[in-house]
Amino acid sequence: MRERDDEWTGLMRSAIAGDSAAYHRLLKAVTPVLRAAARRGLVRAGQPVDQSEDIVQDILLAVHLKRHTWDANAPFGPWLFAIARNKLIDALRRRGRRVFVNIDDFAETLPGEAPAETAPASEVAAQLQSLPARQRDVLQSIAVDSVSIKDTAAKFSMSEGAVRVALHRGLASLTAKLRE
């Protein structure tokens, strides 16, 4: 548990220093843990677990947009689980249930403990369609068609800077829409 947290903390520090590959590895590493925790929370609340992937994506977006609130001198795990807990409670509350989230849901989860296959998620995909055209096109290109930022810029005859701005704004408005 300690080792895992140290590894995450190291990856997050590299990510903040500008290493996108480290950031990608970190998000990949935390996702199964978040997924298992989301499933456990849903089971405890008597909700179908097929919504877990929506919650996982919700948490990942919040991690991304709020990562400036992580103190680089503190371990990453407690921060991550605080974000995750908050998002899970929020998701369950929006589905109109009384919520009891056990802190241990997050603290004691091992990756691979729960089935790790990806369940379909629908909320992000649905909200993607309601974004302004420019943001939607850029997100679609980078996320779904996995085109690089450089090639996306060429495709839409935009500057790379404008693609980066549209990408970030798109992720932010996606998150705002999910919260409505």
Binding site: D19, V124, A143, I149
Partner: protein
Amino acid sequence: MDTDQLIRTLAADNASRARPVGFMLMLALLAAAPVSLLMFFTELGIRPDVMTAMRNPFFDLKFAVTLALAISAVGVSLHLSRPEASLRGFGWWLLLPAGILVACISGEMMMPQRTPMMTRLVGSNSKVCMMAIPALSLPLLAGALVGLRHGATARPAVAGAIAGLASAGLAATLYASHCTDDSPLFVATWYTIATALVTAIGALAGSKLLRF
């Protein structure tokens, strides 16, 4: 969009950097301050005898109380803007202004007074005080909430209440320069009621606005 695609997209956005919450909070408070200042100078203004009042330690100590409240509340609200933060160990800062106030009251008690205690407590500006502090603090509270929205608090209502304390502290600092009631008993009564009102508004607004 499946989760792997989302992760790849987030990694592609790794270069984006948000400003620290403290910076955004200061910026938002600085943007809101002119509104409160304008309200203060058009409706109230600094008391005319301010030069002589400054020689009264209890006039000066009003600012010690209100600024201690504003500064400690800003500090605590920044602490709470991190999701894993709790009030434990930090809540004590909020007792600092109360401590100064208690010290002021005991100081005043030990001095010979020309007016009886109840007269000093009731003062002559209690109504203005209870309207002015909430009114002056509303723009600042709005600013503080805008700034704190850049954070990620796990306790939106508590964080909103503390934003209310901070903005009431700043508003009371302005108001204290207008008010001719300098007794710490007056401050402890009416400033506190006004601050409690702003804190309640902050908690209510925060529970809606500070979710992330």
